[in-house]
């Protein structure tokens, strides 16, 4: 049974610039998106910055109205039945914002428990249970302004779960966390999903989507460019082999020449610390390494790795061809 049903959803933003000569600019953040999420599913929205992920979540959590199209959450229309949706969903976003810094974690949770109409007789135990779950028990009387980013993020999760929502919307929840904090948060998300929660997660970390999500939609420029399981998406580049070549100071013309080599399907360039890494996609079985190295003769090169495609490769290919 679908608990999120989106059909032909469009959202435009208007912004005005200029003091005397007012100009209106229209940005189309979502362009006719359609999809469904089943009850108990962990669905991922994957896309680059500005692709429309947060706009989608805000429409579904009733913070933004759609410009056209329809969106229903738990059977309620986001435009006309916002109040019914709000009590049944939880919204958590990543980063430092979204908490009352001068108040303690307990006061923050107490306030949101009242706003979400948690019954007074269960409020205290619910807050204690969630503090225990996010490992903030014993620190709940300290002001939030003294918390680390990881602690704040865990407090966010507790806040989003206070009213035991049927659907949890997580908007880049691990952004800015250190690796240990991010892993702990991913474990928390996996546990929530294991407990039967429907979760819609946005992220631009491929491994996170790969590890957590049952289905993923790749969004670029306001459109869904692919939807499927992580394995389905990897099939986009399933008949490819990836060659990674570490280089230094490679010119754009050289990259163009590499793209024209027989057997080469795409070439991307990533900057990692001081090196440029060429990500070359080639057909399976095509031996392109020798030809690539010949073309790079004279250039400063480092490690060369040949590997199977990952979700990240599929994502890059999908976003690039969007």
């Amino acid at each position: 049974m679908a608990v999120i049903e989106v059909e032909g959803l469009t959202r435009r933003y208007r912004s005005r610039t200029g003091t005397f000569r007012r100009r209106t600019a229209v940005v189309e953040a979502l362009r006719g998106v359609s999809f469904e999420v089943e009850r108990g599913e962990l669905f991922g929205l994957l896309g680059p910055n500005g692709a429309g992920k947060t706009t989608m979540i805000k429409v579904l959590t009733t913070l933004l109205l759609p410009t056209s199209g329809t969106a229903r959450v738990l059977g309620f229309d986001v435009r006309r039945q916002a109040r019914q949706i709000r009590g049944r969903v939880g919204y958590v976003f990543g980063g430092d914002r979204g908490l009352y810094d001068r108040l303690s974690a307990y006061d923050n949770l107490r306030y949101f428990a009242d706003l979400y109409k948690v019954p007074p007789r269960t409020r205290r135990s619910r807050i204690d249970q969630l503090l225990e779950m996010v490992e903030l028990k014993g620190r709940e009387r300290e002001r939030v302004e003294t918390y680390s980013r990881g602690m704040r993020q865990r407090l966010h999760i507790a806040r989003g779960l206070l009213h035991d929502p049927e659907i949890l919307f997580l908007d880049e929840p691990t952004i800015g966390l250190d690796p240990v904090g991010a892993r702990e948060l991913r474990d928390t998300i996996a546990n929530l999903h294991g407990a039967g929660k429907t979760i819609l997660l946005t992220t631009h970390y491929m491994y996170e989507a790969d590890a957590l999500c049952q289905r993923i939609a790749v969004i670029a420029n306001g459109n869904f460019v692919a939807t499927g399981t992580p394995s389905d998406l990897k099939q986009v580049v399933g008949d490819h082999t990836i060659v990674e070549i570490e280089t230094f100071g490679i010119a754009d013309e050289t990259v163009e020449r590499l793209r024209r080599l027989p057997g080469v399907r795409a070439v991307g360039v990533e900057t990692r610390e001081h090196a440029q890494v060429l990500l070359v996609q080639s057909a399976v079985g095509a031996d392109v390494v020798r030809a690539l190295l010949n073309e790079l003769a004279g250039a400063d090169t480092g490690k060369v790795i040949t590997r199977e495609p990952t979700l990240e490769d599929a994502y890059v290919e999908l976003v690039r061809s969007a």
């Binding site: 009733t62 109040r83 709000r86 009590g87 919204y91 914002r97 979204g98 009352y100 009242d114 109409k117």
Partner: protein, 254 residues
């Protein structure tokens, strides 16, 4: 919803009280205004006049704090990302923003104690309240009415990102029109009907009549009547403006 309102008032007062800089302003402001009024009105031979000036200064502070609470807090909530979260909650926005405004007005009641104490210590103004019960009721009645007037302004601030500047711009006009800065008798006649529509006029009169002797209960009653009217207007505006803000996407700064 009542739990959300009560917790909201308590926590917003707590939050406001945790900034020593803001808090020192709360204590110093009304003292300054009361002192200016003392010398300006040459009130040393008229303790009643000075008591009135002290109470007027306290109501001025109350209005300022409501303006700061409603506009400043909403702007702060936009910055810290909590505005979207309180809008996303099932509790009506009136029950979220109303307590912020009333909490601000209640913090302003500190000013009453500060000015009375200042007057007694520096200017030998006897702190004798003629109708203690009415005075005790007049203070929360004024705070409620002034807070609810702030709710109407706050509705506008949900819509506009320049909330704080808009709010600050209303401080002096309200002080003047309600007779807090200049006696109403000195102002043109057309100002009086405007003053009747504004809570600080009745809040000040209620406290003044209770303190120096008179008939405070009609003024206190007007505070409650206006509170209900403001609540109805502010609540309706908030529902409408929240819808517009969702359409425009203006609940967040970025």
């Amino acid at each position: 919803m009542i739990a959300a309102i009560l917790t909201g008032v308590r926590l917003h007062m707590k939050q406001a009280s945790r900034n020593p800089f803001d808090l020192s302003g709360v204590v110093v402001w009304p003292i300054l205004y009361a002192s200016i009024a003392y010398y300006l009105l040459d009130a040393k031979h008229d303790p009643k006049l000075l008591l009135s000036a002290s109470l007027g200064a306290a109501v001025m502070l109350m209005w300022s704090l409501v303006v700061i609470a409603s506009s400043g807090t909403l702007e702060q909530q936009r910055w810290q990302g909590t505005l979207e979260l309180v809008v996303a909650a099932p509790t009506p926005l009136t029950a979220v923003i109303g307590p912020i405004c009333v909490g601000g007005a209640l913090v302003g009641t500190y000013g009453i104690g500060a000015t009375l104490l200042w007057g007694a210590l520096l200017f030998d103004v006897p702190v004798s309240i003629q109708h203690p019960l009415a005075f005790a009721v007049a203070i929360p009645a004024a705070a409620l009415a002034v807070g609810m007037l702030g709710l109407i302004m706050a509705a506008t601030f949900v819509l506009y990102r320049a909330a704080f500047h808009l709010g600050i711009a209303t401080q002096y006009p309200v002080w003047i029109v309600t007779g807090l800065l200049v006696p109403l008798s000195l102002l043109p006649a057309f100002v009086r009907p405007i003053s009747w529509l504004l809570a600080p006029t009745w809040g000040f009169r209620g406290m003044q009549e209770a303190a120096i002797g008179g008939t405070p209960w009609p003024d206190i009653g007007m505070c409650f009547v206006l509170s209900v009217v403001y609540l109805a207007i502010g609540g309706t505006c908030l529902v409408a403006f929240e819808y517009v803000a969702r359409a425009r996407g203006s609940l967040r700064l970025t």
